[in-house]
Amino acid sequence: MSVFDQFTEHRDLLVNLSLREIRGQYRRTALGRLWSLLNPIATLLIYSLVFGVFLGVDPGPGEPSGLNVFALWLMCALVPWNFFNAAVQRGAGSLVENANLVKKVYFPRELLVTAVVASGATTFAIEMVVLVVALLLFGGTPLLWVPAAVVVMLLLVAFALGLAWLLSVSTVYFRDTSHLLQLVMMFWFYATPIVYPLSLVATFSAEHTPQWLPVSLLQLYELNPMTRFVEVLRVLLYDNTWPPADDVAYCAGVAAVAFFGGYAVLARFRRRLAEEL
């Protein structure tokens, strides 16, 4: 079975499972789907206040867009991160959560994980549309860069999906994975230039990289794929220019490795899942 069968042969099931995720998530809450917007707005306000106002983080105006709104600058990275974080964490738990289904019915198990990520990607897409509208209102010109941003978003989805496949199997064998993952994600968040600009790390690296180190601290920092993803999206949407080609290539590379590697792991363990759960 090829990795793409999920999106062709089993498309109806994928759509149904994704709808189950989307519809089931906010049932019986007074505000319903509004929650999916309220949460990011609340974090946006908090981070803007803490980092933008109190700590005075100043990323400087977008070049060449000229935009200088901290909240928008933050959103360009925070929205992709929120998607990534939720997709990986919820995707990782999805096989265990649906143990009963896996043990009682045969269907391609990976679809459970894929559906969770797909439902997250839907929210992601909606939030990005809101972001683009906001950027337009504040005088940015992101529209020209939207097609490129969509491609990068798809790469990010593939990256998250691959990790979720891998971690969902790991969670079946080691339930610790979900707790460990929470810690890792918290660390990862601050290891990615979301609430502070990459230039801060560049300055620090220029001043503090030890002589004996063959690479700079910045180069090490940029090994983090999420650094590249949020930077590329920020350059496209906030600065309105072309991102460095090597960043995009790096994104595409890690996305491909995660996507095919994660699927290969899942495919290898797929047959034993029903009895291991």
Binding site: D12, R20, R27, N98, Y106
Partner: protein, 399 residues
């Protein structure tokens, strides 16, 4: 509609499970032990081979732990056999647990589509079958309610309706035949008959020998993960019943318990003239003959019989002591009759349970629940609904 190609072919299928001594699902435990945890291999299936003919209704039987459900899961591709091959033709759908995959917060409608998709139907096929499914389940009014508000009966009925309308080439059923009330059961049986006419294959796992006997063409009997017998339903079930009977001392599966000095070997339905009957008729006479076998002499036992509906409502209980019958000493095989002058049960299917107790009805030698299915057909009365018949007639012009 016989097709020379088998619907399912099992070739030397073996499957074993790991029984972990301490299941290390924490990373710490795995790291401390550096890799593999200790486990015992438990062979659930060893070298099972047989074919299931296309268009047949096939039964899998055996005691608890004999591997029949594991085999069913292997056919359903939920488990992958360790060695050997499972070949199958066409679409397979398994009814292992009804309504698994229902999302409690979603409406019945959404869940029907979701469940259908999980069982392998496309969106278009589901749209076409939706009305039929809802109609079959009999819960039209509630279809837009979240399923968490459903009663367990409604939940299972909806699950069954979806599964049976998938119309797979091979349908796998695990102990789910006793679902719903009688009219629903009749609908299910009619649907299964339709499956048979259409040349679809049905594989059933069940403990219920009576329904297996009427339902299945061929039966495979599994014993400790090995194929013990295979052949026409009636003969295999008879052999199985004999063996199971001889070993019933150990059976404590909730259906049956007792100290086994004397055992109920069978309950038989006879006509008033003592010829064997397949079914009884409302308002007519019948004899229920309890066959027993006493391994040790037992003094003054009391026989009991009860009739209940399939949902478990007890309709009638009677003990031999009620009629002042004293049996004195029981030894070896024998039988005792309950003579029913007019069977006042409405058409339907009932469970008969039999018991043998001491004179005080405190100690059970054998309590055999649901040892027989009693099928009642329409008699001379034209009642509309209900369980009992009052043997009544309408009369006009009394006022």
């Amino acid at each position: 509609m016989t097709d020379p190609q088998p619907a399912v072919s099992l070739q030397h299928v073996s499957k074993s499970f790991r029984l972990y001594q301490d299941r290390n699902q924490s990373l710490k435990a795995a790291l401390l032990r550096r890799g593999r945890s200790r486990y015992d291999e438990f062979a659930a299936l060893s070298d099972v081979s047989f074919d299931i003919e296309t268009g047949s209704t096939f039964g899998l039987m055996g005691r608890n732990g004999s591997g029949k459900s594991t085999l069913l899961k292997c056919i359903a591709r939920i488990y992958q056999p360790d060695s050997g091959r499972v070949l199958s033709r066409g679409r397979i759908a398994a009814m292992l647990e009804l309504g698994s995959g229902f999302h409690p917060e979603l409406s019945g409608r959404d869940n029907v589509f979701l469940n259908g998709a999980i069982l392998g139907l496309s969106q278009n096929e589901m749209v076409r079958r939706f009305d039929e499914i809802v109609d079959f389940s009999g819960i039209e009014q509630y279809i837009d309610q979240p399923v968490k508000n459903y009663s367990s009966g409604m939940y299972v009925r909806l699950g069954f309706a979806v599964a049976i309308h998938v119309e797979p080439d091979v349908l796998l059923v695990d102990e789910v035949l006793a679902v719903g009330d009688q009219s629903f059961q009749e609908k299910c049986l009619a649907k299964f008959a339709e499956y048979r006419r259409d040349g679809r294959t049905v594989v059933v796992v069940s403990h219920d020998l009576t329904s297996m006997r009427t339902f299945c063409d061929e039966v495979a009997w599994l014993e400790h993960g090995r194929l013990s017998d295979l052949g026409p339903a009636a003969s295999v079930i008879d052999r199985y019943a004999d063996t199971a009977h001889a070993e019933s001392y150990e059976s404590r599966d909730g259906q049956r318990f007792g100290s086994w000095e004397v055992r109920v070997s069978a309950v038989e339905l006879l006509a008033p003239d003592e010829t064997p009957l397949g079914h009884a008729c409302t308002g007519e006479g019948a004899v229920l003959r309890v066959h027993y076998e006493a391994d040790e002499p037992v003094r003054n036992p009391v026989f009991g019989l009860s009739v209940e509906t399939l949902e478990g409502h007890v309709l009638w209980v009677s003990h031999s002591r009620n009629d002042g019958i004293s049996l004195d000493l029981l030894a070896g095989p024998g039988s005792i009759d309950v003579v029913v002058t007019h069977l006042m049960l409405q058409p339907g299917v009932y469970d008969v349970s039999a018991s043998i107790t001491d004179y005080d009805v405190l100690h059970f030698y054998d309590m055999y629940r649901r040892c027989m299915r009693l099928e009642v057909h329409r008699g001379p009365y034209n009642d509309s609904d209900g369980v009992v018949s009052l043997g009544s007639r309408w009369r006009a012009g009394a006022g």
